[in-house]
């Protein structure tokens, strides 16, 4: 294959040279190291020795032309190669020309000027116009002029140093707009949303609907009420047995019986003796409620919803069970009556179904307490000096310490536990004055 003699990278920042003259012509025979021609770089004129012995096949850059590093200067047919080889080679090259690949160099590619530019600027440096300083006004004044459609150039400023003041613009814009300070037009407003933060990619979900209401409610509660939580365990072995016994009867009426209706009933009855836990704080007054509306938190696709069993003290367990089932159903099918979600005085939250034991529920403000029901589990407990296996239900009672003292809360809890353990769902004898 014929040898392509490329203009080498000689370093020193030289990228190009000018062919001063050729000492050979196409068809000439050359010996290795014999001079081919002269080339001028930034630095000097140098002779180019032939790298090969052979015949000059083609001179690519004529005398006077400029050659860049990596470009072929001359193609030499080496000894033993036929003229036919040379022809084929040149044809191939002609059809597929590719620029020399960039090989990287500290000095990079420095662009070469093609023509001579004039000297920049005027020789006689024109003194920057000391003419009129133009209109002087603060950005605020300019903004108002824009709003009022006032041409600042047409106003004579009355402020310091001829500055145009807000009053000047207002005077000039009188009649065009009623109010002096026209509100800046609402921008059509597009929001910049980044799909990432400093540490990686993120999704952004608009807080809305129930989730937004819950967020606001929870924040209001936690920043308003002084909340703390007492934790108790109730032995519900007998209650469980009762529920197991009643279950088939309820099922006949299409009711799925859980422990919840019993708990609601027991809570309502216990609250009748502990009004502070069925209360709210209004200014300097504690409002003690004489109705017992027990909210039961329901987890739905849209978020947390709390339908309320109204007047739980006057309902039997079965009615409560029916109420809860219906309202929970309505919540899931998004048909719940708004009135069913209002008027609660005490809330029960059940995380037992998802495996939680004790937790610290947040009060459904402005109520004064909330009961968290955990997961019932069989545990070894000591009864009459013997270890027995009993069904234990963890209860977490959060209360507003502004209204309820710790001991009051504990007494309420003990009453509730007594009722759950003794299966006592009768209302206490309380003198109601209404």
């Amino acid at each position: 294959m014929p040898y392509e003699f490329k203009f080498p990278d000689v370093g020193e920042g030289i990228h190009e040279g000018e062919i001063v003259k050729w000492l050979v012509k196409e068809g000439d025979k050359v010996k290795a190291d014999a001079p081919l021609g002269e080339i001028e770089t930034d630095k000097a004129i140098v002779e180019m020795p032939s790298p090969k012995t052979g015949t000059i096949l083609k001179i690519h850059v004529q005398a006077g032309g400029v050659i860049h590093v990596g470009e072929v200067m001359v193609t030499i047919l080496e000894e033993g190669e036929s003229a036919e080889d040379g022809k084929k080679h040149l044809e191939q090259k002609a059809s597929a020309t590719s620029p020399a690949p960039y090989t990287g160099s500290v000095v990079g590619f420095v662009e070469e000027a093609k023509e001579v530019s004039p000297i920049y600027g005027t020789k006689q440096q024109a003194v920057p116009a000391q003419q009129s300083a133009g209109t002087m006004a603060t950005p605020a004044v300019r903004n108002m002029a824009k709003q009022l459609n006032v041409d600042l150039n047409a106003i004579k400023g009355t402020g310091t140093g001829g500055r145009i003041t807000i009053e000047d613009v207002q005077k000039a814009g009188k009649g065009t707009v009623q109010t002096a300070q026209a509100a800046p037009a609402e921008s059509p407003g597009f929001k910049k949303v980044r799909k990432y933060d400093f540490f990686g990619y993120v999704d952004r979900v608009q807080l809305k609907g129930i989730k937004k209401a819950t967020a606001n409610k929870m924040a209001e509660s936690i920043f308003t009420a002084a909340q703390l939580t007492n934790m108790h365990e109730a032995d519900v072995t007998d209650l469980w047995a009762l529920r197991e016994k009643e279950k088939p009867n309820y099922e006949k009426e299409g009711i799925k019986l859980t422990l919840m209706p019993y708990i609601v009933k027991a809570v309502a009855a216990s609250l009748m003796q502990h009004h502070n836990l069925n209360a709210s704080l209004e200014g300097e007054e504690i409002v003690l409620k004489k109705y017992y509306n027990i909210g039961v938190a329901v987890d739905s696709e849209e978020g947390l919803v709390v339908p309320v069993v109204k007047g739980a003290q006057n309902k039997d367990v079965k009615t409560i069970a029916q109420d809860i089932q219906k309202m929970a159903n309505d919540v899931q099918t998004r048909k719940v009556n708004m009135m069913d979600l209002k008027g609660g005085t005490f809330t029960i939250s059940n995380l037992g179904s998802v495996g939680v034991g004790f937790f610290t529920p947040i009060i459904n403000y402005p109520e004064s307490a909330i009961l968290g029901v955990g997961r019932m589990a069989e545990k070894p407990v000591v009864r009459n000096g013997k270890v027995e296996i009993r069904k234990i239900l963890p209860l977490s009672l959060t209360y507003d310490h502004r209204i309820v003292d710790g001991a009051q809360a504990a007494r309420f809890a003990l009453e509730l536990i007594r009722r759950l353990e003794k299966l006592d769902f009768e209302n206490p004898e309380v003198k109601e004055e209404h």
């Binding site: 020193e12 920042g13 030289i14 930034d42 630095k43 960039y102 990287g104 160099s105 500290v106 000095v107 990079g108 590619f109 420095v110 662009e111 070469e112 000027a113 023509e115 001579v116 530019s117 004039p118 000297i119 920049y120 600027g121 005027t122 440096q125 024109a126 920057p128 116009a129 000391q130 003419q131 300083a133 133009g134 209109t135 002087m136 006004a137 603060t138 950005p139 300019r142 500055r163």
Partner: protein, 324 residues
């Protein structure tokens, strides 16, 4: 008169000053026998001998440190640092010593030193060869920071820098080393330090740039083809910059765009805008817009086009200010 590009203009200035004053000394890596990585000192050692044009070891800290000692003792060294990316080693020498000699000696000594160094991107050079650190040096009191944008200024500014009694950082824009040729006087002339050049007068908007970015701004103005009356200012000296020319121009036009290659945050445009706000706020008709490199290290060759502000970005900046 002689046609010269920026490198040749630098050589002319060096030759002129070497011939004029025997105290002038050129020093740096490969500046002597080799003639410099960009040929800026080509032929000077042959002409003035190895005591005047000195090849140094590959040690930037040593080059500048030695030059400071020479300057304090009465010579006028012109040190070459091959690329501005290697200026951060000797930065300590410049900041802690060169810039402080005058104050440290209560004015009895000065440090008449010039450090020449090529800077800037746009030529597909390697990492650390492409930075624009002018505002780093401009931040140091006692250092002068000069950036020519064409051969005429390169020769005149370098001659002025060599005769200046204080240390001058002379930033040479690689991208236009050979890209601009001018017919410049062979005899002695100066372009004074601290004076900006109003390349083109206009009364609607002030466009400020320096170094290689001036050429890009000229191309942008050409492309806008008379759409706006643009006043183009070449700052020429970054520190101390010509506040009078800048502020008078902005006062006149009320609008301003500043273009620089350096990264945006704390780039020199920030300083200019602060001064404009302090002095001529009442004349501003629109916020001043910066067209700059982004806040990243200058990327490798393939991506440098995304980094370097180009004609379209400058036009975009001008349109933004004009349509405010």
């Amino acid at each position: 008169m002689a046609v010269a590009n920026v490198v040749q203009a630098v050589t002319m200035a060096l030759r002129q000053e070497l011939a004029r004053d025997k105290n002038v000394v050129v020093m740096g890596e490969d500046v002597g026998v080799n003639g410099g990585v960009f040929r800026a000192t080509d032929g000077l050692q042959k002409e003035f001998g190895p005591n005047r044009v000195i090849d140094t070891p590959l040690a930037e800290l040593g080059i500048v440190g030695a030059a400071i000692g020479m300057a304090v003792n009465g010579l006028r060294p012109v040190a070459e640092i091959q690329f501005s990316g290697f200026m951060y080693g000797p930065f300590d020498q410049l900041l802690s010593h060169a810039a402080r000699i005058r104050g440290r000696s209560r004015g009895r000594f000065t440090c008449p030193l010039v450090v020449r160094t090529p800077y800037g991107t746009g030529i597909k050079a390697l990492e650390l060869h492409c930075e624009s650190g002018e505002s780093l040096f401009a931040h140091v009191p006692g250092l002068k920071m000069v950036v020519p944008s064409n051969p005429y200024d390169a020769k005149g500014l370098l001659a002025a820098a060599i005769r200046d009694p204080d240390p001058v950082i002379f930033y040479e824009p690689m991208r236009i080393y050979r890209a601009i040729k001018q017919d410049i006087p062979e005899e002695e002339y100066f372009v004074p330090l601290g004076k900006a050049n109003v390349i083109q007068q206009g009364d609607q908007i002030t466009l400020i740039a320096w170094g290689a970015m001036v050429k890009t701004c000229q191309e942008a103005i050409e492309k806008l083809n008379g759409k706006y009356s643009i006043e183009l200012i070449d700052l020429r000296t970054i520190n101390p910059y010509d506040a009078e020319t800048v502020l008078n121009s902005v006062k006149k036009t009320g609008r301003c765009v500043i273009a620089h290659e350096a990264q945006r945050t704390c780039g020199f445009a920030a300083e200019l805008i602060a001064s404009i706000n302090e002095k001529v706020l009442l004349s501003l008709q629109a916020p001043v817009v910066r067209v700059t490199g982004p806040d990243v290290s200058v990327p490798f060759a393939k991506l440098e086009g995304y980094y370097l502000p180009d004609v379209s970005r400058i036009i975009k900046g001008i349109e933004k200010v004009m349509s405010f």
